[in-house]
């Protein structure tokens, strides 16, 4: 194989050519500021509204509940910080899970410094939230529950509907970080009692630097980024028109192809999982096998360390990761793998492969062969491995 095999779709994806094409006119010709009075600018307001509609449709809601942001991280920060500021009169307690993305976890830590209290509910050995713990954690002062729709490292899908119902019954706001799940799984915000939902375009073949936060009508969330009157006065800053257009185009395509695409990914995923299981000893599949994103595979290979594995895969033309891309530079093992009970040294030897619709069976077979080879080579060097 001479070409690159990209298996890190959970980190980011290529913008589709149709997406870029849709964006292009908004850079150089239709560049007007949507808040302007003249036609060249004001037209872009309409264009943004259309994009909002496309996205609202994908969630079973209406456009006025969609607010564009600069990405999933900003959406998560907004949902948490501005909500607890808005509802501080009601209480100061937040519930989240121990396996959230850092965009939620670090924001919670920031809020703890500001005097808010946070309970981090555990997950079971497959990464599924312990609902009994969640219920037990609820206090009269609880104002927000934030649990991710699906995990970015191990792909585990949470029982969102149940969580939404629990939150709803207790009159507590429910936010979900759906950055990994959006456009991979069907989502209906009303059915699941979701009050706020974060998403990011670059995870679904849209451009980087654009995301949205769904906010149910009636939620008294404050602004997080203060300034001009954009986004119904809730999110200031000149609108990223090309980004918004690109996002909605990506959503349009991703929604239309969801069924077919995820079926294909699922088949590849299962081929990958079963071959690795059969052909490589001392491995562990992390995350729930079936309650899992169709494109996610996460294995721990005992006795070897992740970075070495990744570099050798890269040399074989395979792009993969050990978990979240955003934590590279940190030496700590993944908090997600520790939370599902892996010991340190095994957490260090994990490999995340996330599929996209362009991956082929042939690629998967090549990848499995390479993994076998590399794992064997690295184990030969490992002081922990005695065969």
């Amino acid at each position: 194989m001479n070409k690159t095999i990209y298996l890190d779709h959970a980190a980011t994806t290529a913008a589709r050519p149709e997406v870029v094409e849709a964006m292009l006119p908004y850079f150089t010709e239709k560049y007007g500021n949507p808040s302007s009075i003249y036609d060249m600018g004001a037209k872009n307001k309409g264009v943004i509204t259309q994009a909002r509609e496309t996205i609202a449709d994908s969630l079973g809601t209406t456009p006025e509940n969609i607010y564009f942001t600069a990405g999933g991280t900003e959406s998560d920060n907004w949902a948490l910080i501005a909500t607890v500021e808005g509802y501080a009169g009601k209480g100061n307690h937040i519930i989240t899970s121990s396996i959230e993305h850092h965009a939620v976890l670090h924001t919670c830590q920031y809020l703890e410094k500001r005097g808010f209290e946070v309970t981090y509910v555990d997950v079971d050995e497959n990464g599924i939230l312990r609902l009994d713990q969640l219920k037990a954690a609820i206090r009269p002062t609880t104002i927000l529950i934030s649990v991710m729709f699906a995990n970015n490292e191990i792909g585990t899908i949470q029982p969102i509907k149940e969580i939404g119902e629990i939150a709803h019954e207790h009159g507590i706001l429910f936010h979900t970080d759906a950055v990994q799940a959006y456009c991979q799984l069907p989502i209906n915000v009303d059915e699941y009692h979701i009050d706020m939902l974060s998403a990011s375009a670059h995870k679904l073949n849209g451009p980087k630097g654009i995301g949205f936060l769904y906010i149910r009508k009636g939620v008294k969330i404050r602004s997080f980024i203060h300034g001009g009157a954009q986004e119904r006065k809730r999110r200031a800053g000149t609108e990223n028109v090309p980004g918004i257009i690109g996002f909605s185009k990506a959503v349009e395509i991703a929604q239309a192809t969801m069924k077919e695409r995820t079926e294909k990914e699922l088949a590849l995923r299962e081929r990958l999982i079963s071959r690795i299981y059969k052909e490589v000893p001392y491995v562990r599949l992390n995350g729930d096998h079936w309650n899992r994103l169709p494109n996610n595979v996460n294995f721990s290979f005992q006795f070897i360390e992740g970075e070495s594995l990744l570099i050798m895969l890269d040399m074989a033309g395979i792009c993969a990761s050990s978990g979240s891309a955003c934590t590279s530079g940190s030496l700590d093992p993944s908090h997600v793998l520790l939370a599902i009970g892996l010991p340190h040294e095994i957490a260090h030897g994990s490999l995340r492969l996330t599929l996209g619709e362009d991956n082929t069976e042939e690629e998967i077979d090549y990848v499995v062969d390479k993994i076998k080879e590399i794992v064997e080579h690295l184990r030969g060097m490992s002081p922990l491995y005695e065969d």
Partner: protein, 145 residues
């Protein structure tokens, strides 16, 4: 992120393996990143390192520094080997990224640990050789804002 030399030693590590009945063996780890390095020495009667092997569970830099460190001490006396610092290893590898400096410390410390083991077995002391830590992670600091 790594220099060509690092990549070369990572891809084709020198001196991988074990030595049976070694004159000295040292194992050190870094609890923080979870990495572990073990170095085996075969030292002759003139206190010259006749052979050296290593096994490493660690990142690319850990593998490359193990490889380079073993190359640098091979054929040297134990006194010369003591002078092989992590700086020398990094220089020989054309540098390491800042977050990877600690990996080279692991190599330095593993050499010291193996020398210490040798000295204990021989009942000798080498001036300047202190009892090595088995976990080097305390030494590091993270850049903070």
């Amino acid at each position: 992120m790594y220099s060509e030399k690092v990549m070369d030693h990572f891809q084709n590590p020198r001196n991988v393996g074990e030595i049976e009945n070694p004159s000295g063996v040292g194992t050190v780890g870094n609890a923080k990143c979870g990495d572990i390095m073990r170095i085996y020495f075969d030292i002759d009667e003139n206190q010259v390192i006749r052979d050296v092997k290593f096994k490493t569970f660690g990142c690319g830099a850990a593998v490359a520094t193990s490889s380079m460190a073993t190359e640098l001490v091979k054929g040297k006396t134990i006194y010369e080997a003591l002078q092989v610092t992590n700086k020398a290893v990094m220089e020989a590898l054309d540098g390491l990224p800042p977050v990877k400096v600690h990996c080279s410390l692991l190599a330095e410390e593993a050499i010291h640990a193996a020398l210490w083991d040798y000295c204990e077995k021989q009942g000798i002391t080498i001036e300047g050789l202190e009892k090595p830590k088995s976990d080097i992670s305390e030494e590091e600091e993270e850049e903070d804002y």
